[in-house]
C-alpha cells in the first residue's frame, strides 16, 4: 500500500485507475474511492465530519441531558436506574440527599449534639456539659432586653404616617430587603468599622443570616466542582454551608503557629498551583477577618497582598467579616471594602459577608448581608433571596434597632469592653494551668494550645482528648481537626456565653482531667 500511495499520488487519474485495480482495497476502504474521485478534499472531509457529527449527536442523546449548559451533571444515580424492575420497591431519595441526611462525623457537630442532651446549668444541672463550642454571646443581653422591652412592638407596628398598618408588615416586599433597612445596615457597618469606609446600600442584599449569605455567594461565584482557597484553621460550619448544595470544593491553605496562623501569599500560591495541576479550577479565596477560630486580625498589608494576589490570578475574594464589631484588642480592624475602595485595585472581585448574629448577639433574628462590588453578583443574589429572605416584621424591628444611634453606640462600647474583660479572665485561668492561647484581637472564641495534655502528638491524640473533655471533664470545645488545623492539640473555646463564675468551674475540670491522666 505504501508504494502504491507514493507512486499514485502524482495524478488523480492514476489514483482512480490504481484504486480500481486494487480490488480488495476498495472493499475495505470504500471511502477512499470517494476521496480520490471527483469530490476530492471536499467530500473526503465532509463525509467524516458528518459521521463524526452524528456520533456526537448520538452520544449526546444517550447521555441524560444536563438541564443547562452551566450545570454539570453532578451526582450519578445510575444505580437507581437498575431498580426499575421491582416497582413495589422502596422509593429512594436523591443520591445527593443521602450524605446530607447522614449524621455528621465532624467533632464540631458531635459536640454540639452532645451538649443538647445534657447541658450544664449552674443550679439545676451542675454536672452537665459546658458549652464552649458555639460562638454566641450573652454578654449584653441586659442592654438588648431593655431596648426590646421599650421598642419591640412599636418598631414592628410603625409605619410612615404613625398609624398602624398591617399591610406594611404582612404583605410581600422586595426580597433583597427594604431600602430603609439597607441604608441602616450600611450606616451601622461603617460605624462599627471605625468610620473609615462607607457602604453603598445598592450593593447590598439582606439575607436570612450569614449562612445563606455564604451559600448564595458560593453559588454565584463558582460552578459545581470549582474550588475556593481557604486558610486553615477555618470555621467548621463552612463545610456544610458551601458543600451541601453548591458542590463547591474547599482547598485548605495551611497556616502555622509560627506565623500566628496568618495566611501568606506564598502558601496561597502553592495551593493554587497544586489545585490547577490537579485540573481543579479555583474561583476565589475565602477567609474570615477577624479570623474564626484563631481570632487574629489581618493587617492592612496582608489584605493588600491577598487582593493583589487575587487580581494577578483573576479570582474572587470573599471576606467574612461577621466579627468586625467584636474586636477587643489593640489592633485596628480594616475591612476588605476599604482596601477595595482605595482605588488601586479592581473592586468587582471583592465580596463581603456580614451579619448581626455575633456583633449584636441576635442570632435568632437571622439577619445577614452580602456586600458585593460586582453588579451581576448583587443581581443574582437578589433573585435567590426568594429562598432565604428576612421576614418583613423582623426587618421593621431591625430598622429601628440599627437607626437608634445612641443605643448602638452604647451597646458597641459595652460589647467590646465586656468581651475584653471576659477574654482576659478566661486566658488568665488557662495560663495558671500552664495552657497557652494564640494571640487574638477579635471574635467570640480563643484558640487554645492543649498540646501539653495530649497523649500522642497526632490527630488521634487530639480526638482522644476531645472525647475525654466531653465525657470526663464535661466540656465541649471544638478540636482543631474539625477546623482543619494541621498542628494537633489546638482547641477552639467560645467564652462569651459564660458567666464569670463558670470560668473557675471550667478550669477546675481541666485541672482534674490533667491530674487523672497523669496518675
Amino acid at each position: 500500500l505504501s508504494t502504491n500511495g507514493s507512486n499514485l499520488s502524482s495524478t488523480p487519474e492514476a489514483t482512480t485507475i490504481a484504486a480500481a485495480e486494487q480490488f480488495p482495497m476498495r472493499l475495505i476502504v470504500p471511502l477512499r474511492g470517494v476521496i480520490q474521485g471527483r469530490g476530492g478534499l471536499f467530500v473526503g472531509s465532509l463525509i467524516p465530519c458528518c459521521l463524526f457529527y452524528f456520533l456526537q449527536l448520538y452520544l449526546k442523546r444517550r447521555r441524560p441531558p444536563p438541564s443547562d449548559p452551566a450545570e454539570l451533571p453532578r451526582t450519578s444515580s445510575r444505580t437507581n436506574l437498575f431498580s426499575r424492575g421491582n416497582s413495589i420497591g422502596r422509593v429512594r431519595v436523591s443520591s445527593r440527599a443521602v450524605p446530607v441526611a447522614k449524621p455528621s462525623d465532624s467533632p464540631y457537630y458531635i459536640g454540639l449534639e452532645r451538649v443538647k442532651t445534657d447541658p450544664y446549668d449552674r443550679i439545676k444541672n451542675t454536672d452537665g456539659i459546658i458549652q464552649l463550642g458555639l460562638a454566641e454571646s450573652t454578654l449584653c443581653f441586659d442592654l438588648l432586653k431593655r431596648w426590646m422591652s421599650e421598642n419591640l412592638m412599636e418598631s414592628m407596628m410603625q409605619s410612615d404616617d404613625g398609624e398602624f398598618d398591617i399591610s406594611s408588615i404582612a404583605m410581600y416586599k422586595p426580597f433583597e430587603g427594604l431600602l430603609e433597612l439597607r441604608v441602616a445596615f450600611a450606616d451601622f457597618m461603617s460605624r462599627i468599622m471605625g468610620g473609615n469606609v462607607s457602604f453603598d446600600p445598592s450593593n447590598m442584599v439582606i439575607t436570612a443570616g450569614g449562612t445563606p449569605a455564604i451559600e448564595v455567594l458560593a453559588f454565584c461565584l463558582a460552578d459545581h466542582g470549582n474550588a475556593f482557597l481557604i486558610p486553615t484553621p477555618y470555621y467548621p460550619g463552612f463545610d456544610r454551608d458551601i458543600k451541601f448544595r453548591t458542590g463547591v470544593e474547599l482547598i485548605p491553605v495551611h497556616c502555622r503557629n509560627s506565623d500566628n496562623f496568618t495566611v501568606t501569599v506564598s502558601a496561597l500560591e502553592q495551593a493554587l498551583n497544586q489545585a490547577r495541576k490537579r485540573g481543579c479550577k479555583v474561583s476565589g479565596i475565602l477567609f474570615s477577618n477577624p479570623s474564626n477560630p484563631v481570632g487574629n486580625i489581618l493587617s492592612r498589608e496582608t489584605l493588600q497582598d491577598i487582593l493583589r494576589f487575587a487580581q494577578e490570578k483573576n479570582i474572587h475574594v470573599i471576606s467574612d467579616e461577621i466579627f468586625a464589631g467584636s474586636v477587643y484588642g489593640d489592633k485596628e480592624f480594616v475591612s476588605m471594602a476599604e482596601i477595595a475602595g482605595s482605588g488601586d485595585f479592581d473592586k468587582s472581585r471583592v465580596h463581603i459577608i456580614y451579619g448581626l448574629s455575633k456583633d449584636l448577639s441576635i442570632p435568632g433574628f437571622r439577619a445577614g448581608v452580602i456586600y458585593s462590588f460586582h453588579e451581576d453578583v448583587v443581581n443574582a443574589a437578589k433573585k435567590l433571596m426568594r429562598f432565604s429572605s428576612v421576614p418583613v416584621p423582623v426587618q421593621r424591628i431591625l430598622i429601628s434597632l440599627l437607626s437608634d444611634v445612641r443605643f448602638i453606640e452604647e451597646y458597641m462600647r459595652a460589647h467590646r469592653q465586656r468581651i475584653r474583660d471576659k477574654h482576659i479572665r478566661f486566658v488568665e485561668g488557662l495560663k495558671q494551668l500552664g495552657i497557652p492561647c494564640a494571640e487574638s484581637g477579635g471574635g467570640l472564641s480563643c484558640w487554645v494550645d492543649m498540646s501539653s495534655l495530649l497523649t500522642s502528638y497526632s490527630e488521634k491524640g487530639e480526638l482522644e482528648l476531645f472525647e475525654k473533655l466531653l465525657t470526663v471533664a464535661k466540656i465541649n470545645a471544638t478540636p482543631g481537626t474539625a477546623c482543619y488545623c494541621i498542628e494537633p492539640g489546638w482547641f477552639r473555646c467560645c467564652f462569651t456565653a459564660l458567666a464569670d463564675e463558670d470560668i473557675p468551674v471550667i478550669m477546675e475540670r481541666i485541672r482534674q482531667l490533667r491530674e487523672s491522666s497523669r496518675s
Binding site: G44, P48, F52, A70, R90, V100, A222, H316, F387, P393
Partner: protein
C-alpha cells in the same frame, strides 16, 4: 494539485483512512468549539486553546486533552484558567449567569410594573391594580388583631433549631388538621419549617431528585415552580398538559404517556408535583383523583409532592371538600407513605406572606433528616415564629379563621365571577385558592401565545391592571388568564370590571 489540496497527500499516504478522517474531524471539532465560545459574550481570547488548535498534526495524541476541554467549556468560566491577563474582568459562575438572565416572563414583568405604579383608591386612582399576585388581604385583620400580637424577648434573640420550634410545629400541625376538618391528624415530628413555601419546594426537590432528573408537573401550574425546582437544583420539569375539554383535570393516561416518553429519552423521572387546591384553576382534587395519582406513583415507584399552600383558603359551597393527600397516605402501608410529601405555606394561608414561614410535611425519614439540616440555609427567624405562635396558638383561632376566611373569600369570589360573567367572560369552576381561571379566548386577536401576550399588554397599559397570562402557567391553550381577587375590596371589584370592559371595547373595535 498537491499544493491546493495538501491533505490529499496525507490521505493517500500512510495514514490512509484513519488520518483522512481524523484530521477533518479534528478541524470540525475545533470549529464547533470556536463557534461555541464565540457565542457567549466573553471576548477574552484563550492563548492555550489557540495554540492547540493551530497544531493539529499530533491529533492522535491530543484527543485526551480534547475531552478535558469539552468538560471545562461547559462551565463557561474557563477564562479564569488563563491567568496571564490579570487585568481581565472577573466573571461570575455560569449558573449565576443563567439566573441573571431568567425571570423575565410576563409574570415578573407585570409584578414589576405594579410595584412602579401601584393603584391606590385615593392616592393613585390611575395606578395599576394587582390581580397577578396570590395574596390575601381579606382576613389579615383576624390574624393581626393588634391585641393578639404579643412578642417577648425571651427566646427571640438566641440560637434556636433552624427547622422550627416544637411548640410552633404543634400549632402548625393543628392548623393543617383544621384545614381538613380534623379528618387527618398531622404529626408535628414530621414537620420541618422553612422560610416560605419557595424554599420548602427547593429543599424537597433537592432531596428527591438529582441534577438532570425531572418531575412531572400537570399544567397549567403555578408560575413559581420553575424557579424553585430548576434554579439551584438543576432538576428538570416536564409538563403534562391538561385541556379545557377535560375541565383541566389531571389524567393518569397523559401522565403515563409523558412518563414513558421521558424514559425513552433517557430522562429519569423522580416524582409528580401537584397543587391542591390547584393553582391557577382553584379546583380541588377528589379522593378518587388522589388515589389514582398515588397508584400511578406506586406503579412507577416515584414520589408525589402535593402543594397544599391554600388548604385553608377554600371558598366553595358546603359540598366542596378539601382532601389532603396525607389522608390518602394514612390508609396506605408504610412503604408507600414514604413517597408522599406535602408543602405548606403558613404565612400565605394566614394572609401574612411577609412573615415568610413555610413547611415540609413528609413521611420519609431520610427526607426529613436531610431537610432539617438544609434549613440552616433558609431558616425561619425566631421573631416570626414567636409572632405566629402568639397569634395562632389560641384554640378558638382555627375555627374562627377557617370559617370567616371562607365566608369572605366566597363573597368576593362570587362578586368577581358575576362581574366577569356580565362581561361575557366565563371562569372554570373554582372552589379554593385566591384566584379564578378566566376564559378570554373571545378577546384575543389571534389564537396563539402572541395574541395572549398582546391582550395581556392591553390589560396592563389600557386597562391598568396586572393579571397572569396562561402562558406563564404553561397552559397550552392560549387565552386563559389567572385573576387573583383576594387583593380587592368589594369597591375595587367594580373598578376592575370597568377597566376590563374598557379593554373589551377596544378589542372588539379592533376586530
Amino acid at each position: 494539485m498537491r499544493v491546493i489540496v495538501p491533505l490529499q497527500g496525507v490521505v493517500q499516504g500512510r495514514g490512509g483512512l484513519v488520518l483522512g478522517s481524523v484530521i477533518p474531524c479534528a478541524f470540525f471539532y475545533f470549529l464547533q468549539f470556536y463557534l461555541k465560545r464565540n457565542r457567549r459574550d466573553e471576548p477574552v481570547p484563550d492563548p492555550a486553546n489557540q495554540s492547540s488548535a493551530s497544531s493539529p498534526n499530533n491529533s492522535g495524541s491530543s484527543s485526551p486533552t480534547q475531552s478535558e476541554l469539552t468538560g471545562l467549556s461547559r462551565s463557561l468560566s474557563r477564562v479564569i484558567l488563563s491567568p496571564r491577563n490579570s487585568g481581565a474582568h472577573v466573571s461570575v459562575s455560569g449558573r449565576a449567569n443563567s439566573i441573571l438572565k431568567g425571570g423575565d416572563s410576563p409574570y415578573h414583568v407585570g409584578l414589576k410594573r405594579v410595584a412602579d405604579d401601584p393603584y391606590d383608591e385615593l392616592g393613585n386612582p390611575d395606578g395599576i391594580i394587582e390581580l397577578g399576585l396570590a395574596q390575601n388581604k381579606l382576613s389579615s385583620d383576624l390574624v393581626s388583631d393588634q391585641n393578639s400580637i404579643g412578642l417577648s424577648l425571651s427566646g427571640v434573640a438566641s440560637y434556636e433549631p433552624s427547622d422550627g420550634l416544637m411548640e410552633l410545629k404543634m400549632v402548625v400541625a393543628k392548623l393543617m388538621s383544621a384545614a381538613t376538618k380534623n379528618v387527618v391528624c398531622f404529626d408535628p415530628s414530621q414537620l420541618v419549617l422553612t422560610s416560605g413555601a419557595a424554599s420548602a419546594m427547593e429543599i424537597l426537590s433537592f432531596c428527591l431528585a438529582d441534577s438532570g432528573n425531572a418531575f412531572l408537573v400537570p399544567t397549567p401550574c403555578s408560575p413559581g415552580f420553575d424557579l424553585d425546582v430548576k434554579w439551584r437544583n438543576g432538576v428538570e420539569i416536564i409538563h403534562v398538559p391538561c385541556r379545557s375539554s377535560d375541565n383541566f383535570n389531571i389524567s393518569v393516561t397523559a401522565l403515563d404517556r409523558t412518563f414513558s416518553q421521558a424514559k425513552k429519552r433517557g430522562v429519569r423521572i423522580r416524582g409528580i408535583i401537584i397543587s391542591n387546591p390547584s393553582n391557577p384553576m382553584g379546583s380541588l382534587l377528589s379522593r378518587e383523583n388522589l388515589y389514582a395519582l398515588l397508584d400511578f406513583a406506586r406503579e412507577k415507584n416515584i414520589h408525589i409532592i402535593s402543594n397544599e399552600i391554600f388548604a385553608c383558603s377554600i371558598h366553595g359551597d358546603e359540598e366542596a371538600e378539601f382532601v389532603s393527600i396525607a389522608e390518602i397516605a394514612d390508609t396506605e402501608e408504610n412503604l408507600d407513605k414514604e413517597r408522599v410529601h406535602i408543602v405548606y405555606d403558613l404565612s400565605k394561608d394566614l394572609s401574612f406572606p411577609g412573615l415568610r414561614a413555610g413547611a415540609i410535611y413528609s413521611f420519609n425519614e431520610n427526607v426529613l433528616a436531610a431537610s432539617r439540616k438544609l434549613t440552616t440555609l433558609s431558616p425561619v427567624s425566631s421573631p416570626s415564629q414567636h409572632l405566629l405562635m402568639s397569634t395562632i396558638s389560641k384554640p378558638e383561632f382555627f375555627q374562627t379563621y377557617v370559617k370567616t376566611n371562607r365566608q369572605r373569600l366566597q363573597r368576593i369570589y362570587s362578586e368577581f365571577v358575576k362581574g366577569l360573567k356580565s362581561l361575557g367572560v366565563e371562569c372554570t369552576r373554582s372552589n379554593g385558592g385566591l384566584f379564578c381561571w378566566a376564559d378570554m379566548r373571545g378577546l384575543i386577536s389571534s389564537y396563539s401565545e402572541k395574541g395572549e401576550i398582546e391582550l395581556w399588554n392591553k390589560f396592563l397599559n389600557i386597562g391598568k391592571f396586572n393579571v397572569t397570562p396562561g402562558s406563564c402557567c404553561h397552559c397550552i391553550e392560549p387565552g386563559w388568564f389567572r385573576f387573583c381577587f383576594s387583593n380587592l375590596s368589594e369597591k375595587d371589584v367594580l373598578v376592575v370590571m370597568n377597566r376590563i370592559r374598557k379593554v373589551c371595547i377596544t378589542c372588539k373595535s379592533q376586530n
